[in-house]
Structure formats: C-alpha cells, structure tokens
Amino acid sequence: MGETMTKDAAAPEAGTERRLNMIEAINEALDVMMTRDPDTVVFGEDVGYFGGVFRCTAGLQEKHGKSRVFDTPINECGIIGVAVGMGAYGLRPIPEIQFADYIYPGLDQLISEAARLRYRSAGEYIAPMTVRSPFGGGIFGGQTHSQSPESLFTHVAGLKTVIPATPFDAKGLLISAIEDNDPVIFFEPKRIYNGPFSGYYDKPVEPWKRHKDSVVPEGYYKVPLGKARRVTEGEQMTVLAYGTMVHVAQAVCEAKGVEADILDLRTMVPLDIEAIEASVKRTGRCMIVHEATRTSGFGAELSALVQERCFYHLEAPIERVTGFDTPYPHSLEWAYFPGPVRLGEAIDRLLKD
C-alpha cells in the first residue's frame, strides 16, 4: 500500500468519508484478502517490489512477504499455467496480466484448462483464480495497450467475467471474485483508475474524490457477482453499459437531458438478466454501450437477449454503440472511442418516435 493511502486508511479526518481512487480500492481489496486468507498469492509482471505498473499491488510484497507477492517472467502462458497448478494444490491465486492486450498467450491455459477443470474432473480439481488485468483505451496506449477483449472470455463456458466501474465496486467485486471458486477474469478499466471519465476527453480530468462512489469502506465487504447496479433511474430508455462507458453514458444522458435507466452490468457472466429485462420492459427502449469492437462484441449478446425477452415491449430498434471494428489506433484514439457524438446520435434515434 502506498504511503499516502496507508495514512488515509488509518486515520480518516473526523467528519469526512474515506475516498479512494480505483487503484487504491483494488490495492485494498488485495490487502484485505491476503490478510484474511493465507492461501491467496499475488503475482505477475512487475507486481512485486515495484508494486505494478499501475501501482495496484504497491506495498503488498513488503506487507505479505516475497513468497506470496512476487514478480514473474514475461510469460502469460506460464502465469496462468502456474496459477492452475497452484489452484490444484489448494491456493487461491490472483495473477495480474499487465495489460489485457497481453493475455492472449495465456488463453489456452484459461480456456482449455482453468475454465474446464471443474467440469472435466467432475469437481475433483478447481481453478479458483482471479485474473486481474487493466483493459480498455483512452490513455493513448495504441493498439497493444487499449483493447477490450471481454467477449473472448464471456464466450467460454466456465469463466466468469467482471468489470467494475467505481472504486466502491472495484473493491467489493474483487473480494467476491477472489472468494469465488470458479476462475474469474477481472478487467479493470484503466481510463478510470484515477477518475471517472465523461467521454469529453478535452475537458479537465475529474478526480474520484468528487464522485459519490469513491467512498470506500475499510476492511472486508462484498459486492455480489451477477447483480447489476442502477446508476440513474429513468423512464425514457434503458442503457446497458459497464466499465468506463457507464460514466460516458451517464454524462451524455445528463448533457442531453435524457432520463435514462442506466444499468452498470458489473459482471457479464453471470449476467443480471432480471434487472435488464425489468428495465427494458419498463422503458421500451434500449441502448447498449461498449468500447470493444462491434462485431461479435458482448453487445451482440445483450442485444439478442433483449430482443428475445422484451420484443413486444420494444418501441424502437435496439441501439448498439461500440468501438469500430479496427485495431485501436494511436493518433486517432478519440475517433475510435464511442464518445458523446456516437452515443448522442444513438439516443436521438431511440427517442425520435
């Protein structure tokens, strides 16, 4: 844990609520779980002494020891592979993949091994790992530090996929993920590590401390997997979003004066279908937003589910607002990003009749 944070955590000023950014909240979740459960181990590229390139594991090695928090070779196949073996031993591994874009060499170990271990061994062996990884764009990461590959994982039987959008949720969801006995992919939207993002990239960065969901309780608490969060309540339309796009959607709706029922899905698998269904049946209009590429994106699944379950309640075609089907370009990052213009036009189409 960083020095500033330790101070904050130990001695919040009287009368003020403790506010953390997302990095601090994630760090605290790891610390809480490492303290509670001696079987947890944290490892990944640069996570040990240095504390991670985004600082999410800062201070953990010093506090919990080198055999429970350590650096690894630059080898994602090995990182996930040893996590499977550690899980078989009885540990609860929490590997970090430095960028979601780097996860592909580990896919066979995730898809063919971790995801199916419980099934193929009829419950003899499980893979209770939580794979943390920063994902998404908006930080000028170019095509290898910006991707949103969540739908590769939601497509795999046996994996859970979790994406928090606030510090409060990041801590509570991560604790749930670590305690979960199934393998969980925990994608952290790195654009909002330090503050929520409205999508108006030319405006000054907003810090988390002014956001209501940066109030993070000390110690242990859980946000359950599979329960969506209602961000704003509204009757005009439903917005299904997760991660960074929750904040963008909220800002655009506010700017346009649209009263939307915005659902932060939090977990793709398991999905809170009840909340989705109830909301769309009430509003009759649905906009799905994600930063990932469009074709076969998770929005396609959401759109199909809404159509199957809410067809006779729909008053307009479902809108999908996504990144384009190109690699994430460096210089044209904001042309790729599903920003206020793309969302605004989709909202206009949804509401025009």
Binding site: V41, S67, R68, T72, P73, N75, C77, G78, G81, V82, A83, V84, G85, M86, A88, Y89, G90, L91, P93, P105, D108, Q109, S112, E113, L117, R118, Y119, R120, S121, A122, G123, E124, Y125, I126, A157, G158, K160, D180, N181, D182, G226, V269, P270, L271, I273
Partner: protein, 437 residues
C-alpha cells in the same frame, strides 16, 4: 510472385536458400539400421550428487544413463540397488499394464468405447518413475501414463468405467477415454491439450514451496509436445523459482506420424534443452527400468532437498500406434520395433530378476495369466455399468453440472431445453438400451 508482400531479392549473386524439412531415417518398407545411435555401455555414466549445480549434469544430457547391461546385471553408480521384492512388484505392475492395454485396445475394436492409447514399450517411463516418487508427490501426467495409476494402486474398475464413459465413471462420461483424474492418488486431471500440464506442475510445486510442504511435483510430456510454448513456460518458471518439480520428457521417437525431428530432435537431445534454462538435465535409457527408477529418484531427492528442478529425457520407443485412431504402418517401417536397440523394458526386468535367481519363466507365465484374468474379470464387472453408447450413462442433468460451482440462470434454461428435447424424442420414457438419450 509480385505483390505487396514480395520481398524476393533480384539480380545478385548470393546463393539460393532452401528449406530443410526433416525426414525420418526409415519409412514403410525400409530396412532399419540403428547403428547411428550411440548406445553406451551400462554403468559407464557418472552420478553427481543430487544437490550439484545444474550445469554439472551437462555431460549426462548428451549421454544415456543405463544400468541394466547385456548380461542382465545392474552396473555402475546409478544402480538403485532395489531389493528383489521391489523388483518383483515393479514387474507385476508391468505385466498388469500390458494386460490392461491389450484388453482395452481390443475393447475399442469391439466397439465398447471410442478410443484407447497403449503405452507398450514405454512402461518403465511411468511405472519405474512412479515407484521412485513418494505416493503423495503430485503427478501431472500426459495421456500415456496409465502406469502411474497402476503403480499407485488405482482400482482397475475405475479406469475401465472411465474408458467406457459409463454410469460408474466418476468423471461422469465427460472426458475422452484414458483422460483419468484421481485426487486421492495425487494424479492430476489429464487435459488432452498437449503440454498444458507442464507449467501447472511447476505451479503446484511452487505452491508446495510457498507453503513449506515437503511434497514435490512431477510431470510427463512427449518429446513432440516439448515444442509447445507451455513447455518453455514450464522450464522458465521452474528455473526462476527453483521449483521442486521433475519434468519428464518421454522421447518415444514418434508424435502420431511425425518423428522427433519435428520437435528439433535432429539438432540436439531433448535433455540438452534443460541446460539452456539452467535445469539439471539427465538423458536416460527409457527401456531400462532400473535407470528410469534411479534417475527419477535422483531428481525427486534433489527437488525435496530444495536443490532445484530436473529435466529428464527418457529415450524410448513407441512400439504401437499413437492411439486406436492411427495405423503406424502408414508412416514408419515395421522393422523399427524389432530392431530397437534398447529392447523391451518388461523383458529386461524379467531377465534381470532371473539372473539374480529371484524369478523364473514359470512364475512369469503365472503372473501374466493372473493379470490377464484379473483384467478380464474386472472388465466384465465394469460392463455391468454399461459401455459407451449403450444408454447406461450418467443422469442427464449432470451434463450441466460443474461448469460453475453453482448453476447460473442461462445454464438452468438450457438444461430445461435439453430435458424438453429428450421428452420430445422419447415421449414413452427412455428406452433401456441402444440409445444415447
């Protein structure tokens, strides 16, 4: 050739390059001559201390550790000096695995299951090695290590139930035959994807070290699969964390129809790959049960002493096809098996015991008959639980279980759909036999 990717050079005098595509020495019909193989005398190889520096093993990575000589006697510093009872126990496991393989192969041909894989000729690489480990050392096998289960006393009926995917199969009919799993026997679930078990074994060993445990891990991988990235990951993590793990590479010369040259075997030994990582590396006569035992014991002692991981290449020969699904006469010379210069491991152990005055042909015959009879009896018993495709499988609902610890809504919906489909197909209820439901 002209196009955006055309990078061919034009108009210079440099010689044209040519691609080397490896070709085995012998193809079907060819006369086989193994005189190019350098087979040293048994007993000639030095035996370093188990706690030696990894690179002190370098000469052994290019040699071949052998104990049993042509005179059927044990020679040299690697002689594990096993007592006669242990040697007879080993021989008993050998006989059992061979009888089991014969029966199961035939069962597949009779349509009782979809698939089988024998380990004929390679028995020592799993049985002798398993006997050198503690019974609670964790093993991460590939698909040809049935000998480990037999040596650890796993019930034959469990193996057959699994092979038949019947209602007695504790893996609920989910896995291809022979992809066993037994936590009770410290035997990891076999994947079917190749070499994935190798970094997992390293991870298990790291966990054992993290927890201050005394158990070590061992994994097996074919020489062909060492080409997978996972194997590189395993070697790297093993050396970085000095993990208490043994990486057993079974070089049986063939990966289905591709000879070891397609894993780089033309250039260096498989044992020698370990040296580059800083792993202790041994190359062993894989058809010499005593050498296999001794090498695995050396590596297990080394790991247990926190002295580091070991890579062992077992130089052996896959005497049969890869599985029931291929016919080796289509890609290699039938003479290879007959001419293989390292002999048959079972025969070599038998002759050794006879040379010691601790065994004879009569007892061997009785042992073989006893194993065949036991396998036959157990097979009949297992068939009462059903054979593949004859309806006696696990209850239908189990198909949706164990995807997750708890059934999420979408799997509940899909399970209802599946049950509905079955009721539509069989409105009168499920027939007793002859359908897959």
């Amino acid at each position: 050739m002209a196009g955006p990717n055309d990078t061919s050079s034009t108009g210079d005098n440099r010689p044209a390059l040519s691609l080397h595509v490896p070709e085995p020495n012998f193809r079907p019909g060819d006369k086989v001559d193994y005189s190019h193989l350098n087979i040293p005398e048994a007993g000639e190889q030095f035996r370093p201390d188990e706690a030696c520096a990894a690179l002190d093993t370098a000469p052994l990575a290019h040699d071949l550790i052998r104990v049993l000589g042509d005179d059927d006697k044990a020679h040299g510093p690697w002689d594990p000096k096993l007592d006669a009872d242990t040697l007879r126990e080993m021989l008993g496991h050998f006989a059992m695995v061979r009888a089991f393989d014969e029966r199961m192969f035939r069962g597949q041909r009779q349509g009782k299951t979809s698939f089988y894989m024998k380990c004929t000729g390679e028995e020592a690489t799993s049985i002798s090695t398993a006997m050198a480990l503690a019974s609670d050392d964790m093993v991460f096998p590939s698909y040809r290590q049935q000998g480990v289960l037999i040596a650890r006393g796993y019930p034959l009926i469990e193996m057959i139930n699994q092979i038949y995917s019947n209602k007695g199969d504790k893996l609920k009919g989910r896995q291809l035959p022979i992809m066993y799993s037994s936590r009770e026997h410290s035997f990891f679930s076999i994947s079917g994807n190749l070499a994935t078990q190798t970094p997992q074994a390293v991870g298990w060993a790291m966990a054992s070290a993290i927890k201050g445990d005394s158990r070590v891990a061992a994994t097996w991988v074919g020489e062909g699969s060492t080409a997978e990235g996972d194997f590189h990951s395993a070697c790297t993590f093993a050396t970085v964390y000095n993990a208490p793990v043994i990486l057993n590479v079974v070089n049986n010369q063939w990966a289905i129809s591709s000879f070891s040259g397609f894993a780089g075997g033309e250039r260096t030994t498989f044992a020698a790959r370990g040296l580059g990582y800083g792993l202790a590396s041994l190359r062993v006569d894989g058809n010499d049960p005593l050498a296999c035992y001794a090498a695995e014991k050396w590596a297990a002692d080394r790991a247990r002493a926190n002295a580091g991981p070991t890579l062992i290449e077992f130089f052996t020969y896959r005497a049969e096809g890869h599985s029931t699904s291929d016919d080796p006469s289509g890609y290699r010379s039938a003479e290879e098996r007959e001419e293989w210069p390292l002999g048959d491991p079972i025969n070599r152990l038998k002759k050794h015991l006879i040379a010691l005055g601790e065994w004879d042909e009569e007892r061997q015959t009785a042992l073989d008959v006893e194993c065949v009879e036991l396998v036959k009896k157990t097979t009949k018993e297992a068939e009462k639980n059903g054979i593949l495709g004859h309806g006696l499988h696990h209850p239908f609902r189990t198909m949706f279980e164990d995807v997750f610890e708890e059934l999420p809504w979408h799997l509940k919906e899909q399970a209802e759909q599946a049950i509905h489909e079955r009721e539509t197909k069989f409105p009168e209820g499920l027939p007793a036999k002859g359908v897959q439901g």
